[in-house]
């Protein structure tokens, strides 16, 4: 499931792209899994079809998905992130839950850390 937050400064297309990319990289969306048609996802998320189409196009440009005329949009195989980062992220999520943090708080913390780009910040988390 993906979510669009209208209050987020990032545009809806980028929110869709980022969440789908994260799902593909983490293996939540398996190889060859079919993504919903552009119109379905756009209708469900209450955004224009062009917004979803743009996100799909960017994912296709990044090699994460492929679009065929009859087959729709499918996840390309071999996109699973094979670094320790995935395990670290899962651990981070577990620790945040254990500490009673909500998803939004954790996201803000990661965002702050990302923006400041200070070495050692992830360790502090």
């Amino acid at each position: 499931m993906i979510t669009i937050d209208p209050a987020n400064l990032i545009g809806p297309s980028e929110q869709i792209r980022a969440q789908l990319a994260a799902m593909i990289r983490s293996g939540e969306l398996a190889a060859d899994a079919k993504l919903p048609p552009v119109r379905q996802l756009a209708g469900d998320l209450r955004v224009a079809a062009g917004t979803v189409a743009k996100a799909y196009k960017e994912l296709e440009g990044a090699g994460l998905v492929r679009t065929g005329r009859a087959n729709g949009t499918r996840v390309n195989p071999g996109q699973l992130l094979k670094t320790e980062l995935l395990a670290d992220v899962r651990l981070l999520a577990q620790r945040a839950r254990a500490d009673g943090l909500g998803l939004e708080e954790l996201q803000k913390m990661v965002e702050t850390a990302w923006n400041s780009s200070l070495p050692g910040v992830p360790k502090a988390l």
Binding site: M1, I2, P6, P36, P37, R39, G43, D44, L45, R46
Partner: protein
């Protein structure tokens, strides 16, 4: 007396339908829409609004179907020379009207204006929705098979049909030996092969309007099923199950409804063919050497193969009528589930009090 037959047929039809429904002869796997209404506040209000819409449109569809049936009877009485065309085409025409009501009365997917702020987060699942996901497993296969067979049958019957005295393609011609040559002593010297015709036969006169209505019915049903799939999902996370229940409800109503009316549409056509084939099977042949006195008649014999074929077609018509009634009962059960009628059986399945 002639007017009594359709009334008796309709009453009998209604009695069988009521027995099918009251005796629980249909599988009770429906989940009541009212039982799927979880959540509270705005979500609950939206679910109730959707159920109310479903009830109203289903009721409107039933009223339109009944009015369509009455209109077919009235038109038949008004245009008696039409040879029962309005009655023959009634099932397909009624379904077209019903599905038009269902298409033109959309199910709301947004809460009432003002009850949701523009800044609300929106979520969406990533499973592609397809038409076959909502409705019975036979939801597309059965109506498509019935439709194809019906159209093929109509085309074959149309090709075989011949014109009547008004030039309408509602007869079938066949070779017969119903005439004989007699000599001056009125003794039969030979039988003459001639061309006879019998009817009513579902030729182009009946077949073409029915085929057009069936094609229209198929296109509209596919459009309605497509709209049911494409309709945006509901906003609230507590409405995910309810959203699927509404789509399933619609899928079952459309699939079972179209299948039921296809079966019922086949009944008059099959019975017309069966009657025509039975008439064709009769042979009134004179015996050569027989003296034709005043009042003498030819010996009537029946072609056993044609008799068997006509009875088979008649039996198939009865079978289609039974399947049609059962599917109609199935459709009504689904329609009633929007009124909370399915709550009892669902609760019984779960082992909780109703």
């Amino acid at each position: 007396m002639g007017n009594l037959i359709p009334i008796i047929a309709i009453v009998g039809f209604a009695v069988v339908l009521i027995v099918v429904l009251r005796r629980d002869l249909l599988p009770q796997r429906r989940k009541s829409l009212t039982n799927s209404m979880l959540g509270a506040g705005n979500d609950r209000q939206q679910a109730e609004r959707i159920v109310q819409t479903l009830r109203r449109r289903n009721l409107a569809a039933v009223i339109v179907a009944v009015l369509g049936g009455v209109a077919a009877l009235v038109l038949h009485q008004a245009f008696i020379k039409s040879g029962g065309l309005t009655l023959v085409a009634a099932p397909a025409a009624i379904w077209v009207l019903v599905v038009l009501v269902l298409i033109c009365w959309p199910i709301p997917y947004e809460p009432k204006a003002g009850s949701v702020s523009t800044g609300t987060r929106v979520s969406a699942g990533l499973i592609p929705r397809t038409t076959s996901m909502f409705g019975p497993a036979w939801g597309l296969v059965l109506p498509l098979v019935l439709f194809t067979v019906s159209i093929l049958g109509i085309v074959v019957a149309g090709i075989l049909s011949s014109t009547d005295d008004r030039g309408l393609y509602r007869q079938i011609s066949f070779q017969s030996a119903n005439e004989a040559v007699v000599d001056e002593n009125m003794v039969v010297t030979q039988n003459i092969m001639g061309v006879s015709s019998t009817g009513p036969f579902p030729g182009w006169y009946y077949g073409l309007p029915v085929a057009i209505l069936l094609v229209l019915g198929l296109l509209l049903t596919m459009l309605a099923l497509n709209k049911n799939t494409r309709r945006p999902s509901l906003r609230g996370e507590s409405l995910v199950e309810f959203d699927a229940a509404v789509r399933t409800h619609n899928g079952y109503v459309l699939s079972s409804g179209f299948s039921a009316f296809l079966c019922l549409q086949a009944v008059p056509l099959l019975w017309m063919v069966a009657t025509a084939v039975y008439n064709m099977s009769q042979r009134a042949t004179y015996i050569v050497g027989q003296k034709v006195d005043e009042g003498a008649s030819a010996e009537v014999s029946y072609d056993p193969w044609q008799v068997a074929f006509s009875w088979s077609l008649g039996g198939l018509g009865v079978l289609m009528l039974i399947v049609g009634i059962v599917l109609l009962g199935y459709l009504i059960s689904w329609v009633l589930s929007a009124y909370g009628a399915g709550a009892k059986s669902h609760n019984a399945q779960l082992g909780s009090p109703a």
